[in-house]
């Protein structure tokens, strides 16, 4: 199997190299097209509008106290069961204050199938699409943003970037490709339109995506 692949690998590469001898005339070089997307004058305003459009529940808080209150309120609405939390000091502190729930930390393994909610931080928030950027090293793994019916993201206003270009540049600057086996841009909750092209919220992933954004 290994040797077959080795020879296929060489053969495919050779075929590609031979194929590329046939040059395709490139069009007269154009300047980098600019202005594909409109500029974003107010990232927070745009982020809030996009969240409303993609069914992300956005809660803005003024300080830590309000963040704890908002989190407590959401946890209170959830059915009994495991809450999975990314194991970082900031979230440990929040959770001890918003206690009373059965908690599993990301340091104890992946979330269980029956988790009721996951709580994580984000790498960044992206205004243009109302997305959150997560990574497996920085946000408690892969399952932490997909397994439970509710995903709660605790973020700060400084994490908001205007567009995808900036968000992807950040992925590279932080060296995430080398450190993190997964990086995900999440825009709203899980959905499908596979039946008659009509939108249904809550397919296989979270039905609720909550962002608590502390200013």
């Amino acid at each position: 199997m290994e040797s077959a692949s080795q020879s296929s690998r060489e053969q495919i590469l050779e075929r590609i190299r031979n194929a590329l001898r046939a040059r395709v005339p490139l069009p007269a070089s154009r300047a980098e097209p600019r202005g594909i997307f409109s500029p974003i004058p107010s990232p927070l305003e745009r982020f809030a509008a996009e969240c409303a459009a993609n069914y992300t529940e956005l809660t803005l808080t003024a300080n830590r106290m309000e963040t704890v209150e908002a989190l407590t309120k959401i946890l209170g609405e959830l059915p009994v069961g495991e809450i999975y939390v990314q194991d970082v000091p900031e979230l440990r502190e929040l959770i001890t204050r918003a206690d009373g729930r059965e908690v599993k930390w990301s340091s104890q393994g992946p979330p269980s199938e029956a988790s009721q909610a996951t709580i994580t931080q984000a790498e960044a928030l992206v205004a243009i699409t109302g997305s959150i950027l997560v990574s497996s090293v920085g946000c408690g793994g892969r399952g932490s943003s997909i397994v439970a019916p509710c995903h709660i993201v605790i973020a700060r206003l400084q994490q908001l970037v205007p567009d995808l270009e900036r968000a992807l540049a950040m992925v590279t600057e932080r060296g995430l490709p080398a450190r993190s086996s997964f990086v995900g841009l999440i825009t709203g909750c899980s959905r499908t339109a596979d039946i008659e092209k009509l939108l249904v919220i809550g397919a296989h992933g979270p039905r609720r995506l909550v962002v608590i954004l502390q200013q």
């Binding site: 199997m1 077959a4 692949s5 296929s8 690998r9 495919i12 075929r15 590609i16 031979n18 590329l20 046939a22 395709v24 490139l26 154009r30 097209p33 600019r34 594909i36 997307f37 996009e50 993609n54 340091s107 199938e113 243009i128 699409t129 497996s136 408690g140 793994g141 892969r142 399952g143 943003s145 997909i146 397994v147 995808l164 992807l168 992925v171 590279t172 490709p177 080398a178 450190r179 993190s180 086996s181 997964f182 990086v183 995900g184 841009l185 825009t187 899980s190 959905r191 499908t192 339109a193 596979d194 039946i195 008659e196 092209k197 249904v200 809550g202 397919a203 296989h204 992933g205 979270p206």
Partner: protein, 470 residues
């Protein structure tokens, strides 16, 4: 019962075109799509500039394809992943089957991947005694019906909610109602068990990102995320042409793919994966394999004229825009890739038996207008036609006819005599009721259309008379 692929195509085209219910369903779906895409495009300041950019990115990627693939491979290996290069479908299938058997895999969850359809992966795995679960809702529906996907983006486009409800009630234990929400919930319950018991997840890749050494997967339902997060082995199956040079390129390609595919600003889960679980990560698969499939792509790359066909990002826009697709439907093509892109690609992937698909177009050009990476599809259909004629794949009647025509029109007298003969013969044939029959040289047209009345005089005779009157 089964004729050649070309005969089957004609038979199904006639059936589907006269199936008004089928046409109603497709029209309803595509109207919904058109509305969403119209809204989606208006979010761009300059959609045409975005198309230019995407075309540029893909052109650059292909021009250095070998280097970018190696750059990708190195990083995957550094993270502990494996890369398998498959020259053809068989090599890809065998690698995945052998891997699954060697690891004792009993159940596989698959997220949507057209390349796995192209290489006919599932039957081989099932033969080895492995359960294969399609987890994209549309794919799951057609799998339950034992059908191939109808459309590369919307696999169950040909079915109504009520047909799906009927199917689910027959196959699933707990279907409560037949509204959209309940049907999705029933599928979620059934598939959730599969996600958490499967040992292997198989996904495709929308892009292979060379500089980051990661693959990109776009999924709305989150099934792609679960397939790649929960099972202990993740296998990616993708074509070698999916490369983009830089992570930064996704800042345009992600929104463009989503807009052209469904009208969304960006797909809900736009995911990058570069390897198995790394030290310090809470979860993720222990094994990560990427199967890079050539299967005829390098031959297309060698064809400077048609290389850009490999730009395709499988958004499905050309299918939705195509009047032929809208009438004959996806299954009629008898191919993994339907619509204009399928008509261009399939003869390359599956040989001259499918060269008839290049004729399944009125060359109206709607596909080229919507293609987000600016593939000149009608042009490539014409090139395919020319190539198949050159290769000798042409009906004898047609090649004889053209030879005769060429000979006749090289001389005015000859042309006049042949014109008069042809007119007289046709008038005689049609007056005896042979219009559209096998005696009629124009039967391909006149079998389905009323032939125009054939004039008694030639244009030349008419002209001389008119001119004389002046």
């Amino acid at each position: 019962m089964h004729g050649t692929a070309a005969q089957e195509f004609l038979r199904h085209s006639v059936e589907k075109t006269s199936d008004l219910e089928h046409r109603r369903i497709i029209r309803w779906n595509i109207d919904n799509y058109d509305t969403a895409v119209g809204r989606g495009k208006s979010r761009f300041a300059d959609w045409e500039a975005a198309r230019d950019r995407c075309q540029q990115i893909k052109r650059e990627a292909l021009a250095h394809l070998d280097e970018y693939l190696l750059q990708f491979e190195k990083q995957v290996i550094d993270r502990g992943g494996k890369v398998f290069w498959a020259s053809n479908s068989e090599e890809a299938r065998e690698y995945i089957r052998d891997l699954a058997v060697a690891r004792g895999v009993k159940r596989i969850v698959k997220s949507k991947s057209m390349v796995t359809e192209e290489i006919h992966l599932s039957p081989v795995l099932e033969k080895a005694g492995i359960e294969v679960w399609e987890t994209d809702l549309g794919e799951y529906i057609v799998q339950l019906r034992n059908e191939p996907p109808y459309h590369i983006v919307t696999p169950a486009m040909h079915l109504t909610r009520l047909q799906i409800a009927e199917l689910f009630r027959a196959k699933l234990p707990d279907v409560t109602a037949d509204d959209h929400q309940s049907l999705v919930a029933a599928a979620r319950r059934a598939l959730r068990k599969a996600f958490f018991s499967a040992e292997m997840g198989i996904s495709g890749a929308n892009f292979i990102v060379a500089d980051a050494g990661m693959i990109a997967i776009s999924t709305n339902e989150g099934n792609g995320r679960l397939c790649t997060s929960v099972p202990r082995i993740h296998v990616v199956v993708t074509g070698i042409e999916k490369v983009v040079p830089r992570l930064q390129d996704l800042a345009v390609l992600w929104p463009v793919l989503a807009t052209a595919g469904t009208g969304q600003p960006i797909t809900t889960y736009s995911t990058l994966i570069g390897g198995p679980r790394q030290p310090g990560e809470a979860d993720g698969p222990d094994e990560f394999h990427v199967v890079l499939v050539d299967n005829g792509r390098s031959e297309l790359l060698a064809d400077a004229e048609q290389r850009e066909v490999l730009h395709c990002i499988r958004c499905g826009a050309c299918l939705n825009a195509c009047p032929v697709f809208r009438h004959v439907g996806g299954h009629t093509y008898g191919a993994t890739y339907q619509g204009p892109i399928g008509s261009v690609l399939t003869p390359h992937l599956r040989g001259p038996e499918f060269s008839h698909l290049s004729y399944a177009s009125s060359l109206c050009g709607a596909c080229a207008e919507v293609c987000p990476v600016r593939i000149n599809l009608p042009h490539h259909l014409l090139e395919n036609r020319r190539n198949s004629v050159r290769a000798g794949d042409e009906p004898v009647k047609e090649s004889l006819g053209f030879k005769l025509w060429r000979w006749a029109m090289q001389d005015a007298t000859r042309y006049r005599i042949f014109g008069a003969l042809a007119r007289t013969a046709a008038r005689a044939l049609y007056s005896m009721g042979y219009e559209g029959s096998s005696f009629d040289p124009a039967a391909a047209w006149s079998a389905y259309h009323a032939a125009p009345e054939i004039p008694k005089q030639s244009f030349r005779q008419w002209w001389e008379r008119q001119d004389g009157k002046r």
